[in-house]
Amino acid sequence: MSEMRRVTAICNGTAIDHIPSGNALQVLKMLRLDVGRSNPISMVMNVPSGKMGRKDVLKIEDRELNQEELDRLALIAPKASVAIIRNYRVAEKRTIELGSELVNIVRCSFSNCITQNSREPLPHKLKIISSEPMEIRCSYCGRHQNVDEMVEFII
């Protein structure tokens, strides 16, 4: 765990380990933690990992991620491990599971999709066709979603 020593242990909050190398900034964006927050966040990128070769790690102080937020994470870091830290101890371990459908997390990116009308009340739904490689389509219009660009379409 030498890479964990690069940042100090946190008292309370969430540690996200095993983020694919280089994706930590995207993870922050997807969790909407990149702007307008005052809690301290530590980030290490491209550190050696036995499992992954290289990985990113995030430690978010004073913030416990809930399941809905974890669903967001599944899109770009499906194999990340999440630990909820309370009083310097791992209080809970949460695994991220990519479900079969993403409901009201990301909107379809296709400009002519019926869901582009913000007044339409039904939920935004994206179907997970496969996780490796990640293939996601809009449940309504069927369009392929570019996973790298999905962060722009978070609801």
């Binding site: 379809c108 296709f110 002519n112 999709c113 019926i114 869901t115 582009q116 009308n117 007044r119 339409e120 009340p121 039904l122 809009c138 449940s139 309504y140 219009c141 069927g142 369009r143 392929h144």
Partner: protein, 309 residues
């Protein structure tokens, strides 16, 4: 559920069953026999985008089976006042037993099906799917060749925006067709569709050359380059008129080869083809009636008798 949103809603067996039903209903479609299977039922015909054949053939189909039709077009209705599709569908759900929807936005048919309980038949959503057209195309192909299995099918023209060819290529693939996709580079079939077709074991050849494949084709499916789907006129002018099929091109065609076109046509299909034995596009347009009759019956869970007369 009797929804038909994409061809994936039907198994191959169901497709063949619907085509059999349509075949039985031919005399009813021609008006030679009145068979009020859908008496007392109301069809909501919802066209948020222009249509001639689809709209009229659904209306004829419903009326020939004894049902009633409500027509809605977006012009002059509450849709023009900014009503959401969701709200419009709640109203239609109260007024009709089944609805046909054409809409400029992709995904509108599935969205409608999620919004209401009545069965929804997709009559074209943007550049998405048009499965009832596919069913009448399959009916026409089977009528001519006696089978859907293993045919050589050429699709020509706007394969990017042409929803007709998207649905039809999926369906034909499931019956082992060999597809030759002929289009200018800018109007190629979308890559996700081609990769889908290939992942299902499809035998696909993409080319810009129409002439070299004509002689080996069992079906030539022409499509119009759709001006209304181009972002600007300059882009349209670059590719308009690139293909034109004339009677002279068909000299060495197989004798049973058929020429199809979802219509309307502009210049891509010359009227000289009309008088050849290959021309099947007007028959294809008529076939919309028996096929849509069979689909309305399926949607409303009404069995078509095995024999009429």
């Amino acid at each position: 559920m009797g929804d038909l949103i994409t061809m994936d809603d039907l198994t191959n067996e169901e497709i063949l069953q619907i085509l059999d039903d349509a075949n039985i209903l031919l005399p009813v479609a021609r008006g030679e026999l009145y068979l009020p299977l859908l008496q007392g039922k109301v069809l909501g015909n919802l066209f948020f985008e222009n249509s001639t054949r689809t709209r009229m053939s659904f209306e004829t189909a419903m009326k020939r089976l004894g049902g009633e039709v409500l027509n809605l077009s977006s012009i002059g209705s509450s849709v023009a006042k900014g009503e959401t599709l969701y709200d419009t569908m709640q109203m239609v759900d109260g007024y009709s037993d089944i609805a046909v929807i054409r809409h400029p936005n992709q995904g509108a048919a599935q969205y409608s099906a999620d919004a209401v309980d009545i069965p929804i038949l997709n009559a074209g959503d943007g550049a998405g799917n048009h499965p009832t057209q596919t069913m009448l195309d399959l009916f026409t192909i089977r009528e001519a060749h006696g089978t859907l299995e293993g045919l050589n099918v050429m699709m020509v023209g706007d394969l990017r925006y042409g929803r007709t060819t998207h649905s039809l290529s999926h369906a034909l693939m499931r019956f082992g067709a060999k597809l030759t996709l002929v289009s200018p580079k800018s109007l190629k079939m979308p890559t996700e569709i081609v990769s889908d077709l290939k992942s299902h074991g499809g035998d696909i050849n993409e080319t810009i050359d129409m002439a070299s494949s004509i002689d080996s084709a069992d079906v030539i499916y022409m499509t119009r380059i759709q001006k209304e789907r181009f972002p600007d006129e300059e882009e349209y002018n670059k590719v308009a008129g690139i293909y034109k099929l004339t009677a002279g091109d068909l000299g060495n065609a197989k004798s049973g080869m058929i020429v199809m076109h979802p219509l309307p046509r502009v210049n891509e299909l010359d009227s000289s083809v009309d008088s050849t034995k290959h021309a099947k596009y007007f028959q294809q347009a008529f076939n919309g009636v028996p096929t849509r009759m069979a689909l309305l019956c399926r949607g409303l869970s009404v069995n078509v008798p095995r024999k009429v007369k």
